[in-house]
């Protein structure tokens, strides 16, 4: 059996997961529709005053993104777990961390990236300025991968448990709060005329740290859940 190179393995896993998702497009769309719906509920609940809406927009978009990514976490490993693929993945003589990173990347492309792309349109509903929209996109681009990565740990730990969906939110949401604070803070900073560099740098730092540690931790969690 030929051993794949690490980037080769990464690409293979991403391609496989994307292909599987393309065969069942409804799942991806459901998350996106959920995100749009949650964000659209806020103006209805709070009232149509532009001043207030502009102020709460970054927080609303971030919280909705957080909830939407929670919603899709259950799918990250469960299908593979149920049909036995995951067991085979643990047995292959390849780096499990890299394999997990591939799955995380695919998950982000399917749940995080669509949110980033549609967020500006939602921002317009909230009367955000063009500058704020750019910052929102940048912050979401840095932050949503972290949500997928931290979420992967929770998804791996709760694999196959009853009530796993609620439990995973309970585990993952507290760990995601820093991302939420700095992500929403960046947009607020630009709206009030301050520099966004510090917020975006911190988000970038969190992204780098998670990139190093979370695939490995998730791999360990999978081993614990599967033994």
């Amino acid at each position: 059996m030929n051993k794949l190179s690490l980037p080769g393995l990464l690409l293979l896993v991403i391609k496989r997961d994307l292909l599987l998702a393309m065969r069942r497009r409804a799942d991806v769309l459901t998350t996106l529709v959920f995100f749009v719906m949650v964000v659209s509920l806020f103006p209805l609940g709070i009232g149509p005053e532009q001043e207030i809406l502009r102020k709460i927009a970054p927080g609303v978009v971030w919280v909705a993104a957080l909830l939407a990514s929670m919603l899709s976490l259950g799918r990250m490993f469960s299908a593979d777990y149920l049909d036995g693929t995951l067991e085979q993945m643990l047995l292959v003589p390849q780096s499990l961390s890299m394999l997990v990173l591939g799955k995380i990347a695919a998950h982000w492309m399917l749940s995080g990236l669509p949110l980033v792309l549609i967020a500006p349109a939602l921002g317009l509903q909230f009367d955000m300025s063009a500058q704020a929209l750019w910052v929102l996109i940048a912050a979401l681009l840095l932050g949503t991968p972290v949500l997928s990565m931290i979420g992967a740990i929770g998804a791996a730990l709760t694999l196959g448990l009853r009530g796993g969906g609620v439990l995973v939110s309970l585990l993952v949401l507290p760990l995601c709060i820093p991302v939420l604070i700095f992500g929403a803070g960046a947009v607020e900073a630009v709206s009030s005329g301050m520099s966004v560099i510090s917020h975006l740098s911190l988000l970038g730092a969190i992204l780098m740290l998670s990139l190093v540690f979370t695939p490995w931790v998730t791999a360990q969690a999978l081993r614990i859940s599967m033994e």
Binding site: I153, L161, L170, P174, L175, I177, A221, I224, E227
Partner: protein, 245 residues
């Protein structure tokens, strides 16, 4: 004489030891609580700025310190259990979690009671308050995860991993008042000396020590129940006097 350091890492021997140790921690804890509260309420002078309301510090500060310490100790035990595969360490981590959650809750609650007269609000979204709240959520997540896994071995190991990941938060709470200049005051007690009145200081340290002893006593009692529950099918449990009865 060679001492077998690992003798008490077996649940069967630790069960007896823990039972003998509990009174040695529980009674001093009760005594120190009484002394600490007496000194705190009747001996310590009232504060120049905060009047009498500051006295909640004697509960608030020990509870906050311990909520963080217990998390670190819990994560430490969890790591030990994960690395050396010792069952007792994982049981200790499980036993510490409810007490830690309790102290985090007390810390938030007394903080709110203190915040109302001082800051004029029950709650402010200050860095330290927020991160203490996250700590409470982390405790609850740990407890919920362990409660929903039926297989004890998997519950121990999954909880351990979560505890270790969550311990990132503890330094953030501790340094939050330094990193972000927010409403919550910095710590008054430093290693280089303190600006506190001596009686206040004594009351606080007495209360801190009392809480420490209470934590040890309570977690020992709880770990004993966990041992009994997990080992109920072993012979040594059925031979215990309290089980036979």
């Amino acid at each position: 004489m060679a001492i077998n350091w690992f003798k008490y890492s077996a649940p069967s021997t630790f069960y007896g030891l823990a039972g003998r140790l509990v009174p040695w921690f529980a009674w001093p804890a009760a005594l120190l609580f009484c002394i600490g509260l007496y000194v705190g309420f009747f001996v310590a002078p009232s504060d120049v700025v905060q009047g009498e309301a500051y006295r909640i510090i004697f509960i608030h500060v020990p509870a906050s310190i311990l909520s963080m310490f217990i998390y670190l100790i819990m994560a430490g035990y969890a790591a030990l259990g994960l690395i050396f595969n010792t069952r007792l360490s994982a049981m200790m981590a499980t036993a510490l979690a409810p007490t830690g959650a309790l102290f985090a809750l007390i810390s938030l609650w007394t903080g709110a009671l203190w915040g109302k007269p001082m800051w004029g609000a029950w709650w402010v979204w200050d860095a330290r308050l927020t991160s203490e709240l996250i700590l409470l959520f982390l405790y609850l997540g740990f407890i919920a995860l362990q409660a929903s896994i039926d297989d004890p071995r998997r519950a121990d190991r999954a909880g351990a991993l979560l505890a270790i990941v969550g311990s990132v938060n503890v330094p953030i709470i501790y340094f939050s008042v330094k990193w972000w200049n927010t409403l919550h005051q910095g710590s008054t007690i430093k290693f280089t000396g303190t600006s506190m009145h001596i009686a206040m200081q004594q009351a606080m340290f007495t209360m801190l020590l009392a809480c420490w002893l209470y934590v040890i006593a309570v977690s020992l009692v709880r770990v004993r129940s966990i041992i009994l529950e997990r080992e109920r099918n072993n012979q040594w449990v059925t031979e215990l006097a309290e089980v036979k009865r």
